[in-house]
Each structure stands twice: as C-alpha cells, then as structure tokens.
Amino acid sequence: MAKVHEITVWARGVIMDKEGRDVINIFAKAAQMDGKHAQAFDNYEDLPDRVLVTVRKYVRLSDEEIEHKYVYTNDQPEVVVIAEATIVKGIDVLLGMKKGGTLIINTNRSIDSMLKFIPNADLLSTIATVDADGITGVRTVDFSGSEGGVDESGIGKGIAAPIVGAIAKVTGMIKKEHLAKIVSDVSGMERGYKEVKIKKLG
C-alpha cells in the first residue's frame, strides 16, 4: 500500500464548523481532480454541536486506493491546520505527529509568538501563518450546523478559501488551478496563496 498522507484540521464547534468542513471537502475534491485517492471526514467523536468547543476534521490522501475505510481519525497527522489560533494554547495539536510535520495557523500574529504556545514545536519542519480572518473579513458564514444538509452558502466561502490557498502553497499536495474550480471565493483563495508566511524550522 502506498503512503497515506494524513491532514487534520482543527476548528471551533458551531461557529467555524462549516469552515472546517469546507477545508477538508475542498482539499479532498482538489486531490481527486488530480487523480489521487482521498477521503474526507467531518468529526463525530468530539461532540461538535457545542459553541467554541474544539473539533477535528480529517483528510487522507494517497496515490493508491486507501484501504482502511472504517477508522477515520488520523493518528499520525503529517499536516495540521488550525482554523482559529487560540486552539494551539489549549490543545496538544501535534499529538501523534512524526518529526518533520507541517503546521498552518490562521492568525495575524507573528510566527515566533505562535511558537511560544507550542512546547513540542521541535516536531515541525515547516510552520506557516495566513491571516484568513483579515483577508475575508468574516469569521462565521452561517450556522448551518454539523449535518451540512442545509448548506446553501456554497463551498469555500469565508475563511475556508484563504486557508485552502495557504495549504496548496505550503504543502504542494493540491494544485491552485483545481481549487479555483471548486471554491466560491476565488479571490480570497488567491490571496491566501500569495499572503501565507512560511518559516522553515531546524
């Protein structure tokens, strides 16, 4: 079996549930347009229907068919995406990561000030920040809930668009051309791709 790349997205329950879900869905769709095999899972385990509680969303990516279908949690994430920067203070977001991982944070603060809140930052090889709140100017698009059955606002509005743009630039796992076909807010995605700040660590 080929290597499976695991990507975990952290967001806040209810107020950013749609945004987190959009990031994984866009990521998986763009990877599939590239001919890769991808799985995207909204979380189930962390009781996501509570305001502000931290929730996880998962994507898996592989060149061959992914065989473990029924376990959806990512035990060894390679890339961790934080949709709201305060999460790094309260959670060990790098739990299970092997050395040489990537962390992408949505914040307007400096990378060094974020590193102060991550005691196990030696696991990282790349850290990046993108000011998605500043680019889109809106934090919550709608409160359509975890089910997603009544999501009328379109995939990739709000902070999800700059975040996926930043992921494409930092990881190189997905292509910007494919993203432009999926997201509603293409200019936000382009700005996220351009304005992401990347720092390589040791």
Binding site: V53, T86, G90
Partner: protein, 117 residues
C-alpha cells in the same frame, strides 16, 4: 444517610451535604477537574477594579460559576480553568468594568489538554 431513589437504587449523601429539593447553595463546593473547559475560550474577561461596584451581576449571570466574590478582600475572582469565554458577564456588567481581551495576549490561564476533552 442512605436514600432510596426510585429507579436509581440507593445513594449515600453525607449529613452536611443534605439540602431540601430546590435549595440554593452559596457556591460550588468542589470543581470538576476532569472537565476543564478553558480551551474553549477565544477571549477572556478582564476586570477593572476601579469601575467594579461588586454588584455581583457577573456572579449571577455566569453559566459556569466562574466569578467568585472574595469577602475578605472585597474582590471578584475569575476562575480561569472553566471560563468558556461566552462573554455574557461582559455584556451584563452595568458599569463596564469587564472587557474582552484576546486569549493569546496572555501566556497562561488555559489548561492544555491532549484531546479536546
């Protein structure tokens, strides 16, 4: 005292913890340390002791009993470990003594967990 609850079996309530149905107790007698919710917070309330009149409206409005009145010092005390940052106290404060400050401005105050909870 052993108490028979229909459908639940018998529970042992110590004599000093016994209260009548519908009773109001002055403060939580203990904190549930297995359910720390401080990492739900994006902003935290910061109080200005000059403006605070000790009216106790924050104490009444907090859903998680995160404001405690310290009688000896005549001060309100904020419980960092359980405040979820809902900002109800900030909206309810009649004198504007509470303001919301981003949590990342402070180095501590959040219990760091391995899993969401």
């Amino acid at each position: 005292m052993a108490k028979e609850l229909p459908g639940y079996g018998t529970i042992n309530v110590p004599k000093d913890r016994e209260v009548p149905f519908g009773a109001v107790t002055p403060a939580p007698v203990c904190t549930q340390n297995l359910f720390q919710t401080s990492n739900w917070r994006i902003v935290r309330p910061v109080k200005d002791d000059e403006k605070c009149t000790r009216c106790l409206i924050c104490y009444l409005s907090c859903p998680d009993a995160c404001w405690i009145y310290k009688e000896e010092e005549d001060m309100m005390e904020w419980v960092a470990g359980f405040c979820k940052g809902c900002q109800i106290c900030i909206n309810e404060c009649p004198t504007g003594a509470l303001t919301a400050a981003p949590e990342l401005d402070f180095p501590d105050g959040v219990v760091r967990l391995e899993k969401p909870f």
